[in-house]
Symmetry: C2
Subunit: 140 residues, 2 copies
């Protein structure tokens, strides 16, 4: 049996609302992802490595992928791509933008970028979201 405090409940709710039963593995992943102050950017591989590093009983790769996908589909994680064929996830699901600096990602609050002009969606389509990536390089 394991203890259940009120904090655990919000993690469990995130899982349930993603259509996932709150198994041990999933609750721990959910805690690891959402029990933090700052936005967290990660790849599934990174998540797996940092969580499994300290565990004697490892969580399997498939479980990490399954859980991250379900959380993403339920809207608890945001997915984005850099130019290296890997999916990145972001625990900040509010609309926002990114700096990319040689593989490092920094959030840009939504209100830091505003548009003067935006194109219309093609016929029969509408805009789902607008994402800005500002690529950085070293000064001089």
């Amino acid at each position: 049996m394991h203890k259940m405090n009120s904090k655990n409940k919000t993690f469990i709710d995130k899982l349930r609302s993603s259509g996932l039963r709150p198994t041990n593995q999933r609750v721990e992943i959910s805690k690891f992802l959402f029990n933090r102050k700052k936005t967290f950017h990660f790849t599934v591989e990174e998540l797996k490595n940092s969580m499994n590093l300290k565990r004697s009983k490892k969580i399997s790769t498939a479980t990490f992928y399954n859980t991250v996908h379900a959380l993403k589909s339920a809207g608890h994680l945001k997915e984005f791509s850099l130019e290296n064929n890997t999916s990145y996830y972001d625990t900040n699901i509010t609309s926002h933008h990114h700096f990319f600096d040689n593989g490092k990602v920094i959030d840009i609050k939504s209100d830091k970028i505003t548009f003067q002009k935006l194109p219309e969606a093609p016929k029969g389509k509408k805009i789902k979201n607008v994402e800005v990536v500002i690529r950085l390089e070293n000064n001089n």
Copy 2:
């Protein structure tokens, strides 16, 4: 006059300026990519398949990857990513933006999007470029 020759020359120049000797394979890839009116979006796999379809002597996978990478590094192709772990390339290297519509990509001319406000680069960094992706969905 010598329209065909001078055209070939521009393909060869693109290769040379990418640090590549103009071999047969590379000249054909360069022609295939740049001898067209409209912007071309592609993955290396797609490029390989459409070029090799009609050839008796196939060009190898590695050559496609090498050539596309060198052209990209030299600035003759632009790379971008969707959320499917595949690199896409764009023969339109002018600064511009994209609509993403379920894996389909549509160019947005640079002047269709202008900013009212943009954040400053972090200390020691400067902005290399700004890219906007507008994700589309079907109108209800």
